[in-house]
């Protein structure tokens, strides 16, 4: 029987840059800004950090451990770059948790950064060997659009259902000073927007953003020296599935097994049996509106086929029974790939500490974060709780 991470790791500081088109900042500026905010929040000096795990997806943002060590001039320490598609940030956090829990290090930083705007690309820039015929040449929205097509066909969901997700997340994001967009949208606006990859229009897609986020963790017994309202890691799960869902004969495009398995693992550790009741709010990976609806199902907030019902009934609105993406989500907050997982930890920590000004979820005890990468190939779920 394998062990559990539950209550072995405490978050003592978080930092996050504003997300958006940050033309005047480079990747080093972003990492310095996010890290120093986290150092300050934790009440530590940069030299107190024993080790760093940094999530970066694209090679042009940064390679190797130096990507994090160099901007901070933190030399002579173990620094590792983590790349796991769009879940790179949360996987950096997961690795950092194991390092702290093992007792190998006392204070560790998990961070993530991405600098997308320098590439002059409409949509995410291409990958190595994207020219190989098998890779399908599809855009990121196109990949998830194929799930929407299937859900429309099987469940009778509509573009209006998808639009409700965008409307909700834009509504939430308005309150967040660091969100990429701070503007509400209407269903009509969403439906009228230019098509990106049918059936996904512009407002069904998250933004291309620059940004960075950082999290300082330690063990609970040490955490007490730094603050009283530290946040505890209750459960961590990560699962990798196929990167070629389109080749897998049984792949139904009605959900993502990576999320289902990562959630099961995290719930088991956290002792959660009924996520709909026991999770107070969630920051989930809404790279596209369809993804959020499928996340509801995959995370066990509802049965298969009922994702759209939750959004229609307002269950996941900020005033609802189970608020999802009170930050505005990737959709409105932005999605600098490697940064997003740590941004979710940042946001969830603030909520659990009651420091989410203007967007505070009432009486939040347990918060869930969910990061998804690739064509739904890798998912990470982290459950956090008040101490």
């Amino acid at each position: 029987m394998r062990g559990s991470i539950r209550d072995k790791v405490a978050i003592i500081g978080v930092g996050c840059t504003k997300f958006g088109e940050l033309w005047e900042k480079d990747m080093e500026d972003l990492l310095v800004d996010a890290s120093y905010e986290a150092f300050k929040d934790a009440g530590i000096e940069p030299r107190d950090v024993d080790a760093i795990w940094c999530g970066i997806f694209y090679y042009f943002t940064g390679l190797a451990g130096v990507a994090a060590a160099e901007p901070l001039k933190l030399y002579g320490k173990p620094v590792t770059r983590v790349e796991n598609f769009c879940a790179s940030g949360m996987d950096a956090f997961r690795n950092a948790c194991f390092a702290v829990a093992s007792g190998a290090y006392d204070i560790v930083m998990a961070c993530g950064v991405e600098k997308l705007m320098d590439q002059g690309s409409r949509g995410l820039p291409g990958l190595t060997e994207f020219g190989h015929p098998f890779y399908g040449q599809v855009s990121a929205p196109g990949m998830f659009a194929m799930a929407a097509t299937r859900c429309f066909h099987e469940y009778g969901w509509t573009k209006e259902d998808l639009a409700l997700v965008a409307v909700k997340n834009h509504y939430n994001g308005v309150a967040h000073p660091k969100a990429h967009f701070r503007r509400q949208v209407t269903v009509e606006e969403v439906l009228k927007a230019p098509m990106i990859a049918w059936p996904l229009g512009r407002y069904d897609c998250c933004a291309m953003s620059d940004g960075a986020a950082a999290v300082i963790i330690t063990r609970p017994e040490i955490a007490k020296q730094y603050r009283d309202d530290y946040v505890l890691v209750k459960g961590v799960g990560l699962a990798v599935e196929t990167v070629y869902p389109f080749f897998k004969p049984s792949f139904d495009y009605l959900g993502f097994p990576a999320t289902q398995k990562a959630a099961q693992e995290a719930y088991k550790e956290a002792g959660i049996e009924n996520p709909r009741r026991e999770v107070d709010f969630a920051e989930v990976h809404d790279c596209f509106t369809i993804t959020e609806l499928l996340n509801y199902q995959d995370l066990g907030f509802c049965e298969r086929g009922e994702g759209a019902t939750l959004i229609r009934e307002g269950v996941t609105s900020i005033e609802g029974e189970l608020p999802v993406n009170p930050s505005g989500g990737l959709k409105c907050f932005g999605h600098p790939i490697g940064a997003t997982g740590c941004r979710m930890i940042y946001e969830t920590t603030k909520q659990l500490q009651g420091r989410a000004d203007g967007r505070q979820v009432e009486d939040a005890e347990i918060g869930l974060t969910h990061n998804l990468g690739g064509p739904a190939s890798v998912a990470s779920v982290v459950v956090l709780g008040r101490r």
């Binding site: 020219g131 015929p133 855009s139 897998k248």
Partner: protein, 472 residues
């Protein structure tokens, strides 16, 4: 009895009316239309289409050679016939040859195949002829050149035996294109028609009839193309043929397709031929070829095979709405396309999956899957597979209409579809030759080899899906 065992044709989906060309350049209206290959087609992809049409129901592993005839080989160095052979899943120990340099190449390749089989060096040879000649805009050739392909399987047990042939060679600077030229040129069109075309056609046909003793009245059809609507009639009359003996040159539907043209016309003739019919097919250019065929009792069998043929293609063509689409198809504006990271090494390593579309069937759970994997997607068995050639037909499982292509926003989206193939296996391909709005879940599609891009300067051939081409 060596001759035509089977035959097939391919004509691109789109036709451009000559009226639209005339309108673009302020010329007086000209009748008819011409066939226009799509932006993702070239002579190799069209040759594969015609070959698939020809081989419908026949086993490609029984072919001993692939002869490719074209004046527009995609590669000047690097043989093109092997691409066709691989796409068709022909054996490795076969002869592959490119016949090029003249629009007579189609009939020359047919004669070469006939002689090779008669020598005993091979039992079955596939002759695939295709051309995609790009005419200079605002020239007479722009009205004339069309695109298309034909394929003839030559072998023993022929449905139409080749009785004999006659060939003349000529030194003639008629229409020409140097290896560094973009366009075909001419110096004196009338001289080209009378001497380059007419004299060589006459010499080849006269020679054949003298050699075989066949007289015009013994012949059911004379398959003789012409560079314009009339000159083949003149030649035929000089030889004593009646107008009704002439096979339609398809000038008003296709234009002149170059190397495949005599074989496209031959396929047309065979589609309606009766046992005992004698057919003469001629190819002209830098000399002339004339071949006498005699249709046997098996002609009916061959005709019943599942094939689209010339007729099936002509019935399903669609008109291009405007001249601008044609400019786009031929990339005449020289717009730079994006380049994707790629490698000739991986393209080579995976060629079995890319060209003949090989997948595997798991020996443990029976799941057919693609591409070739080491460990089963469904049951996890390792290295326990049988290789299978996947079907080229299936149904759309899911799709998207993608506007983001290579980091740019396209106003017209590219349909990308997951196809469940007949007999198992899923592929993820682009959809071509369709209006994006027609794409639906469950829609039947067929796969066609196309150029997907030219990154790193080499052609990436791969399969695309298209709506099943049939008369609605």
């Amino acid at each position: 009895m060596v001759g035509v065992v089977s035959y097939g044709a391919y004509v691109p989906l789109h036709a451009l009316s000559r009226e639209l060309i005339a309108k673009a350049w302020d010329f007086p209206p000209v009748p008819g239309s011409k066939s226009v290959a799509g932006a993702d087609e070239d002579s190799v992809t069209m040759a594969v289409e015609a070959s698939m049409d020809c081989l419908a129901g026949l086993e490609p592993s029984e072919i001993d050679g692939v002869f490719f005839a074209t004046t527009t080989p995609p590669y000047a160095e690097k043989m093109n016939a092997p691409t066709i052979a691989w796409a068709l899943d022909v054996r490795r120990d076969v002869m592959t040859v490119d016949f090029t340099g003249s629009i007579r190449a189609g009939t020359t390749a047919l004669i070469a195949a006939y002689n090779t089989i008669r020598s005993g060096a091979a039992r079955r040879i596939l002759v695939a002829a295709a051309d995609c000649r790009i005419p200079e805009p605002e020239s007479m050739y722009e009205f004339q050149f069309g695109d298309g392909a034909a394929a003839v399987l030559v072998g023993e047990e022929a449905a139409a035996k080749i009785v004999d042939y006659y060939t003349v060679s000529d030194e003639f600077v008629g229409p020409w294109r140097k290896s560094r030229d973009a366009w075909v040129r001419e110096f004196e069109a009338r001289h080209d028609v009378i001497y380059g075309y007419g004299r060589n056609a006459l010499d080849a046909l006269t020679g054949l009839m003298a050699k075989t003793g066949v007289k015009p009245e013994d012949v059911a059809k004379l398959v003789l193309y012409a560079p314009e609507p009339r000159s083949h009639v003149t030649v035929a009359q000089m030889l004593g043929f009646k107008p009704e003996q002439l096979q339609d040159t398809l000038f008003f539907l296709l234009g002149v397709t170059g190397a495949p043209h005599p074989l496209i016309m031959l396929a047309s003739a065979l589609e309606v031929a009766k046992p005992g019919d004698r057919i003469i097919v001629a190819g002209v250019g830098d000399g002339g070829d004339a071949i006498l065929l005699e249709v046997g009792e098996g002609a009916g069998e061959v005709n019943r095979a599942h094939r689209r043929g010339v007729r099936g293609h002509l019935e399903t063509m669609k008109p291009l709405k405007n001249y601008d689409d044609y400019i786009k198809f031929r990339n005449l504006l020289g717009k730079q396309r994006f380049s994707r990271k790629t490698s000739t090494v991986t393209y080579w390593r995976d060629r079995k999956e890319i060209l003949p579309l090989k997948g595997v069937k798991c020996r443990s759970c029976g799941t057919v899957q693609y591409p070739i994997v080491r460990v089963c997607y469904e049951c996890g068995s390792k290295d326990s597979f049988d290789e299978v050639r996947l079907a080229k037909r299936g149904k759309v499982f899911t799709f998207t209409l993608d506007h983001l292509v290579g980091g740019e926003y396209y106003a017209t989206p590219v349909p990308r579809v997951v196809v469940e193939l007949e007999g198992g296996g899923r592929v993820f391909v682009e959809m071509t030759d369709c209006n994006p709005e027609e794409v639906k879940v469950g829609m039947p599609v067929e796969l066609a080899l196309r150029i997907i891009h030219e990154s790193e300067g080499f052609y990436h051939y791969y399969w695309k899906a298209r709506p099943v081409r049939e008369k609605k």
